[in-house]
């Protein structure tokens, strides 16, 4: 019993290594935020490409669907190996310039940027599917109204459909972001010193897991509040749909309650 406590919760060891673990977590945060923002954008681009209208653009749609299927269907670790291996080999062979093959942009390491690229490629595909669900959930009457006012397909998407779709999918996108944040730990495999690697180094040197537990606490400090935000957004959305009808509400709507069933009309 004592051994368990010693192994996982050695507070003096945590204190001694706090700086190293925090440095690692800072890398994790940067990886998460940069990859997250890029994946959110790339996913939206993919979702819009997938919805392009008309026969001549069918190849674009098929390519997009193929891309999404592939990157949703293979492990992130495999993508990491393929991306880092290709880029470093290609610059060694002078196929691509060194600034791209061994990127050190903004003072971050090459493994960091390989990670950003891989996370963006993979999570862009996940998020594209989330956006697609949102776009398809916007009633067809919205497109018709926009088109009947003379908007082009692109204008209807940009001003009418996508803004509504994005609002609907903020909670699932945040869930994907939480998953992305945890998956940044895989980038350690190709040499990024993020928080899990930092904790693991301590465990290897001290035969003690407290550094990793400290890393876990850092994760939870971010992911648990995010999860609560997701819950709050969902219950707020539910309250809104339950309020339903076109009648103006009296004050603020009550939260949650049973899920909306058998709403009249809509």
């Amino acid at each position: 019993m004592d051994f368990i406590r010693e192994y996982y919760f050695d507070f003096s060891l945590m204190g001694d290594n706090f700086g190293a673990v925090l440095d690692g977590f800072w890398v994790t945060i940067k990886l998460s935020v940069i990859s997250g923002v890029l994946a959110l954008s790339w996913g939206l681009v993919l979702a819009v490409l997938r919805q392009l209208p008309g026969k001549p653009l069918a190849p674009v749609r098929w390519l997009t669907i193929g891309y999404i299927d592939v990157f949703r269907g293979i492990p992130l670790l495999l993508v990491l190996f393929l991306v880092s291996g290709f880029l470093s080999a290609a610059q060694a062979e002078d196929v691509i310039p060194e600034t791209i093959g061994l990127p050190t942009w903004f003072g971050e390491t090459s493994p960091f940027w390989y990670g950003v690229i891989s996370l963006t490629l993979t999570y862009g595909a996940y998020m594209a599917e989330v956006y697609r669900a949102g776009i398809e959930a916007v009633p067809g009457g919205q497109t018709e109204a926009a088109r009947s006012l003379g908007m082009s397909h692109g204008q209807a998407m940009r001003y009418i459909i996508v803004p509504q779709a994005v609002r609907k999918v903020v909670p699932p996108l945040l869930n994907d972001f939480i998953a992305l944040m945890k998956d940044t730990s895989l980038v350690s495999v190709i040499g990024a010193l993020e928080v899990v690697q930092a904790g693991f180094d301590i465990q290897t040197a001290e035969f003690n897991g407290s550094g990793l537990v400290l890393g876990a606490l850092f994760f939870l400090a971010v992911t648990i509040p995010l999860a609560r935000v997701v819950d709050w957004l969902i219950s707020r959305e539910q309250a809104k749909t339950q309020r339903g009808g076109p009648k103006p509400p009296a004050g603020e709507a009550k939260p949650a309650g049973p899920p909306a069933t058998g709403m009249a009309g809509a």
Binding site: R147, S148, L149, I160, P246, K247
Partner: protein, 261 residues
Amino acid sequence: MEETGATAAPAEPAAGPMLQLENVCKRFGDLEVLRGVSVDVNRGEVVCVIGPSGSGKSTLLRCVNLLEPPEEGRILLEGKEITGKEAVEGINFVRRRVGMVFQQFNLFPHKSALENVCIAQEKVLDRSGAEARQKAEALLARVGMADKIGEYPDRLSGGQQQRVAIARALAMDPRVMLFDEVTSALDPELVKEVLDVMRELVDEGMTMIVVTHEMGFAREVARRVVFMDEGLVVEEGPPAEVLGNPQQERTKRFLGLVLEH
């Protein structure tokens, strides 16, 4: 707002019908929804279309503004062909001249009443923000919504939403307005406020095609009534004839059913 878009538009050749439909056919897979519909609508004329559910009334309107391109037949707008390979004018020509109002309002829920009326003016007609806003305020006042300009659709009643939707369509200065059962989704006490707005448009000489179940309204404002069934025009003529003294068996049966309740 002294002038409607219809009268403010540059002088057009006054002669000839505004809209001509010749033998329009539309299929969805195996389902023949329109089986050769021919209707002319003159300038300033109000044509009401009635008929049972599924007879193709909505599809007909959607063909006119090319939301559903017809497969056969021709549609001419201001004398210019807008359908098929011989089309001399594209979709933009049509959508800038034809406004549409829907049964379900289809207001943009993420935009206020004012923004609903402004957005297409700015993005499609390239009007400045100030110009669009001025026009939108005038139109919203005209449909009795001056005090609700900043409200979002989910805080408006159905009748109010539909009046905003009419203002939104009018903001594009259409020459023809299409109304698809615009009062069918409304509580009975809200129907009149929407019909009143439409009556005003009629008085101002707007060319209109109105799909409706409001027989009283059709009788009052329509120059002509078209009765459709199974994708065909069964009977058409002045309201007094089609509604008052129908010749076709199917028309009689339909009116009998409608008048029962």
